[in-house]
Symmetry: C2
Subunit: 301 residues, 2 copies
């Protein structure tokens, strides 16, 4: 199970029942929160996402529509008696903002909050089963995107062939990792004969807020699912550029050139009550596009 | 028109669809916001309260469930192009919290935000038509209650009597303010003969978060509507005391002894999904009690 659930898709402020940016990525038993606009914990209750499942939070930048719900969420985790460590990856000034609010309220969290200031592009989490990388996006203030990748899955043993070639079980682990087998008399049996490919490793890239930026193409190349903001429709390209945001066509162009499997678009301006046209415009350039709608879960495959 | 609309009645964290504390008091063309828990601006949209109408905000204390929605609301007011001054009355450390978040986001508000740190009990707003006073409550951290009072209404001219005694119109204003009339030959015509009493001045007291505290009785004496927290039912009096909160019976006892006209109770613990019993318990001591339910407007009379 690898999926992303949208908790908020609106830019700048809540409007038409749409909440500001927040997404929960689920990877098997792990849950990651990316951005945390005001009301995120309310959306979590609504969509039955347990706060206690979240062990990693990633904040792209310190515009309020991407983090004003964080201090409330963390405070609630404390009130609910959380004990597990929480890891928070964010621009450095967020630590002072949180500390100040906890101090003033005399809040003592019953768990350890590990704050990791984002400093350099690259690997920020390296788990047995997944990695998380961060990369810079171009916005009005310091801003980061994130890529969550499954680690490459081991190959599966081909039970028939194993029997046929009488491979000793002690050798199975090496086969799963891709090694060939050498028989006692020096013959090589290729790994491809003895094993079957597993599902390929999947990946999700979250491009945060960004101006149209072709350097993103390399950064998110070949991901399974790309989230790219589309604050504006294509006719407002100048305004998008002026405000360091993107249009439908620009997001779709990044998706196409990065050869991603699927595109998810969001961060819609409050100018727009109807969203259908966002999808229509993006599909002109990149057909496999969907709207990031609050409450909807998208499988990453 | 003098009323209070409840935007949140839950304590500590959002639960069962109940939002944390926020109330909008409407007094004719004025709107006042008291406390601003996370999601207040979302509730304002839901209940059709225009952000632009609010010129005064009062924050009782710096526990998150009473102010985490404030930075988002103020940011949105800026994004929506507000120009009118906004007056914010709150414990002093809130200024630093807001300033830090605005600085980090490079937010420049297009209106003047006047921050008034609460320091002494007494008058904090003195308008032609109303006053606002603050008073201390006993909670775990610095905490303030507020009383909004209409100013005493001028008396109304009794048109028949004015004609009968041929009072010159230049004297009407003094009659409205309660003066007697002295005729040319030195006779005194009492004001009560020439004028009719207007509706008495109404008042709303918001007691914030507080332990059971009999010193509140004098502070809120005779108000038209008293809001007093009831975090717990009567069987959890010890827990209430321990956490500087109140029970149903305690709130109702303050209302009764303060001789208020009506009691509104709220700030319910997330322990409780059903709220009916709060009203039942309070009514045992003070019958004219209602639950502060999200989205409901209560007339102050």
């Amino acid at each position: 199970m690898f999926s992303v659930t949208i908790l908020g898709n609106n830019s700048a402020l809540p409007a038409y029942g749409r909440f500001p940016t927040a997404q929960v990525v689920t990877l098997n038993e792990q849950a990651f929160l990316i951005d945390c606009g005001e009301g995120t914990q309310i959306q979590m209750s609504k969509y039955k996402i347990r706060r206690s499942k979240i062990n990693h939070i990633f904040i792209s930048h310190l515009h309020g529509d991407h983090y004003f719900g964080l201090v409330g969420l963390i405070t609630s985790m404390g009130l609910l008696g959380r004990e597990n460590d929480l890891h928070l990856y964010a621009p450095a000034p967020l630590k002072q903002i949180l500390d100040l609010q906890f101090t003033v309220a005399d809040t003592r969290l019953p768990f350890t909050l590990n704050f990791h200031a984002l400093e350099n592009e690259g690997l920020i989490v390296d788990d047995k089963k997944f990695t998380v990388e961060c990369f810079k996006t171009q916005h009005r203030i310091e801003c980061w995107g994130f890529i969550i990748r499954e680690k490459k899955q081991p190959r599966k043993i081909n039970k028939e062939k194993i029997k046929e070639y009488t491979i000793p079980s002690a050798y199975y682990e090496r086969l799963k990792n891709g090694d060939d087998y050498e028989t006692k008399d020096g013959n090589i049996i290729k790994n491809e004969i003895l094993t079957i490919a597993n599902t390929p490793a999947r990946s999700y890239a979250f491009c945060a807020d960004t101006i149209y930026d072709e350097s993103l193409i390399d950064k998110v190349a070949n991901v399974s699912l790309l989230y790219h903001e589309t604050t504006y429709l294509k006719d407002l390209e100048d305004r998008a550029t002026d405000r360091f945001h993107s249009t439908t066509i620009q997001a779709a162009s990044i998706a196409k050139n990065a050869n991603v499997s699927k595109l998810l678009i969001g961060h819609f301006s409050s100018k727009y009550e109807q969203l259908d046209i966002f999808e229509q415009e993006a599909k002109e350039v990149f057909f496999n596009t969907q709207l990031a709608i609050d409450g909807v879960t998208f499988l990453i495959k």
